[in-house]
């Protein structure tokens, strides 16, 4: 099963290496990892999507929790949370096809952020399902490049842990 881990870490050099290295050394699988500074500049938030049965994930959480630079770790899979991923797609778009592509972009509430002679760059924000759906819809036109950030997540309601 896929688990979403929200990990607060010290915002310091080498911390990402420690976290990723732990996954590699113990043979755990990372599906996606997104990291960025939080409102507290000394803290970064990592959102890790990892695959594995419950026992494996419990080990992942326990082992990560032992890292001194990991301040807090939560498996939020079973909690109500909002998750988003940003995806950029470069699509082959001759003038004749542009109308159709723009319709798809509208339906998904995505945006066109660059127009080239025969290409468009589309920016799409959403959860994993939406990203998958727009990718599928644009595929017939020819996807030339695709970059995605990996998922970031936040628990709904009051500050998690305060309730």
């Amino acid at each position: 099963m896929r688990h979403t881990l929200s990990v607060l870490v010290e915002n310091q050099p080498g911390v990402l290496t420690r976290v990723a290295g732990l996954f590699a050394r113990r043979g755990y699988n990372i599906e996606s990892l997104a990291v960025g500074q939080t409102h507290d500049p000394s803290v970064s938030c990592m959102t890790i999507v990892a695959g594995g049965d419950d026992l494996v994930i419990e080990q992942v959480v326990n082992q990560l929790d032992k890292l001194i630079d990991v301040i807090e770790i939560r498996d939020i899979t079973q909690v109500k949370y909002v998750d988003r991923e940003l995806m950029l797609l470069k699509v082959k778009a001759e003038a004749s096809m542009r109308g159709e592509i723009m319709q798809i972009v509208d339906i998904f509430r995505a945006r066109i952020v660059d127009i080239g002679q025969e290409t468009l760059i589309i920016e799409c924000t959403g959860d994993a399902g939406k990203a998958q759906a727009i990718e599928k819809s644009l595929k017939p036109f020819g996807i030339l490049e695709l970059a995605r950030t990996g998922k970031i997540a936040m628990v709904r309601g009051p500050k998690y842990g305060d309730v």
Partner: protein, 556 residues
């Protein structure tokens, strides 16, 4: 007062109560060594950095205080790696201080540059690359705190040359609050209550205790638990000494080379009380056939160990000693004595044994004689292989911190430098390194260290001219094809080797020479090497072949 980085390290070491360090100088660590010259901290100059790391570990394990090892950048630092890995696997607090090229040169492949924080990432509890001298005092303080609390382990401090010469105001900071580190954990009283109840209801309980009992200082509590509830105790290799092995309730060591009765007891038990132990594969044998009828109480400070290898019914996550104290308050002793009778019958029927041969020294006999002559009152370190297992089986350890062996990593060459570290920390103790002819050659250069500082360790080499444990596996599992395990050609004359270093060298080739040689070694106030020429193809029995259940023991 402004101090240099090197001076700050020394001041911080003094604040942490460091009296002895083990190390080897070099270019990038020179600023530190220059200041050390004027310091009261005693420095033991080893002959190879690996020796420094193992000596620091031997010191830590014998004294209970953190050990410190020091090396320069590049090859000095990489030579520490095996010792750091060893301390990590056995959860021993050591601080490794390494020199590093100046911060301005880091990443440029400068002379003697190695990314030692990167190299050691998976084998340290934590590590620091110091970039700013103003953070140095706090880093040293945190390093000692992290190494010695919670589940102990090695911490590395990588000190670039320019940081060690830069200056900063020195004030030893108060204990550092590390927001990502929880050394102590609250114990849920309800879980304690349930575990106590499970002990009271158990029909066939057994205590399985490990190194955590020793690092937590919980031997007395363990003994009280065993005696009050009349539960037999088996220990791991690292747990030897946590419970006196002459005690009627002691079953000795369990696992691959454990006693038959300890393996029977754990296999047929209905309740395993695991204390500071981690169900390693050398303990469990085939995991899915391990103790099939047992419920498990697991007391451990590391939450990641609980449920890692076996299913745990009563998880007690916390400091072993603190948990045991709570448990003892609520302990209900099982009433049924049938099980204990059964275990004691197994113990009486299956003693450790070996065949004596006229005129030939059996390695087990040497260990028995060391035990007999010292009354179990010395510190024993071991190398790795047959020598280690015979020492574990036949040297009945009586007290914590007196049996020091490389368990998790299984590092050949550990015993001599560990003995040197133990002897430096415990000058009044008799220290024996039980060695093999293979292992001793991995760090025999440290005889120079022992002689230079007159650390009078006794090295008992069980010399069979083989890499004995590998040969045993080849005999039993690889059709006696002794590929690359015969060491007879090229092995030095150990008596002459000892003499070359200025130590005393002795040799025994017949059983009647064993005891006089040991007596002479013990009476000699300097390092001694005794070459015991033993039966060449003796095997360590009992033996649970890898991948087999514990009840499928071979031999013995």
């Amino acid at each position: 007062m402004k101090l240099t980085g090197a001076e700050i390290i020394i001041k911080a070491f003094e604040h942490e109560g460091v009296d002895i360090v083990f190390g080897y100088p070099g270019g990038q660590i020179l600023p530190f060594y220059d200041k050390l010259f004027d310091s009261s901290i005693r420095h033991i100059l080893v002959r190879h950095e690996q020796g420094a790391a193992h000596a620091a570990e031997g010191y830590a394990r014998a004294t209970g205080k953190p050990g410190v090892c020091i090396a320069t950048s590049g090859p000095g630092a990489t030579n520490l790696v095996t010792g750091i890995a060893n301390a990590y696997m056995d959860s021993i607090p050591i601080i490794a201080l390494t020199g590093q090229v100046p911060t301005t040169k880091i990443g440029s492949d400068a002379f003697q540059e190695a990314d030692i924080t990167g190299i050691t990432l998976p084998i340290v509890k934590h590590s620091y690359l110091v970039r700013d001298v103003n953070t140095l005092a706090g880093i040293v303080r945190s390093a000692f705190h992290i190494a010695t609390t919670g589940r102990p382990g090695p911490v590395l401090i990588d000190l670039p040359n320019d940081v060690s010469t830069a200056t900063a105001e020195f004030e030893y900071p108060p204990p550092v609050a590390l927001r990502g580190y929880r050394a102590r954990r609250e114990i849920d009283p309800n879980l304690i209550y349930q575990a106590a109840k499970a002990i009271g209801e158990a029909k066939k309980p057994v205590i399985y205790s490990g190194g955590g009992v020793i690092s937590s200082g919980a031997s007395e509590e363990l003994r009280e638990l065993a005696e009050r509830a009349q539960i037999p105790v088996t220990t791991t290799l690292l747990g030897k000494g946590a419970f006196p092995e002459t005690h009627p309730l002691s079953l000795g060591m369990l696992g691959m080379h454990g006693t038959k009765y300890s393996n029977y007891a754990i296999s047929y038990s209905d309740l395993i009380i695991a204390i500071g132990a981690r169900f390693d594969d050398r303990i469990t044998g085939r995991l899915d056939a391990f103790a099939p009828h047992a419920k498990v109480i697991h007391i451990d400070i590391d939450p990641a160990e609980i449920g890692k290898n076996v299913r745990v019914h009563h998880p007690l996550n916390g400091d072993v000693r603190a948990v045991l104290k709570e448990l003892l308050l609520r302990l209900e002793a099982p009433e049924d004595q049938e099980w204990l009778k059964q275990v004691m019958a197994w113990k009486a029927e299956n003693p450790l044994t070996y065949t004596r041969i006229e005129g030939v020294i059996k390695p087990q006999y040497v260990i028995e004689q060391i035990w007999d002559l010292t009354g179990g009152n010395c510190i024993v370190t071991t190398e790795v292989g047959q020598n280690q297992m015979w020492a574990a089986q036949y040297y009945k350890t009586l007290a914590p911190r007196t049996f020091i062996s490389s368990g998790g990593l299984g590092t050949m060459g550990f015993g001599l430098p560990a003995a040197i570290g133990a002897q430096a920390g415990c000058p009044d103790k008799l220290v024996f390194d039980i060695a093999g002819d293979g292992s001793i050659q991995m760090n025999s250069q440290e005889l120079a260290t022992a002689v230079a500082y007159n650390l009078p360790v006794k090295v008992a080499i069980l010399n069979n001219g083989y890499l004995g444990m590998v040969r045993q596996w080849q005999e039993l599992m690889w059709n006696r094809r002794y590929s690359q395990t015969d060491l007879n050609v090229g092995t030095p004359d150990f008596v002459k080797l000892a003499e070359a270093y200025g130590a005393l060298g002795l040799r025994a080739t017949r059983p009647e020479e064993v005891r006089p040689a040991l007596e002479q070694a013990i009476a000699t106030p300097k390092p001694v090497v005794i070459d015991f020429v033993v039966a060449r193809e003796e095997n360590v029995f009992p033996f649970v072949p890898p991948g087999q259940p514990l009840t499928k023991m071979v031999g013995g």
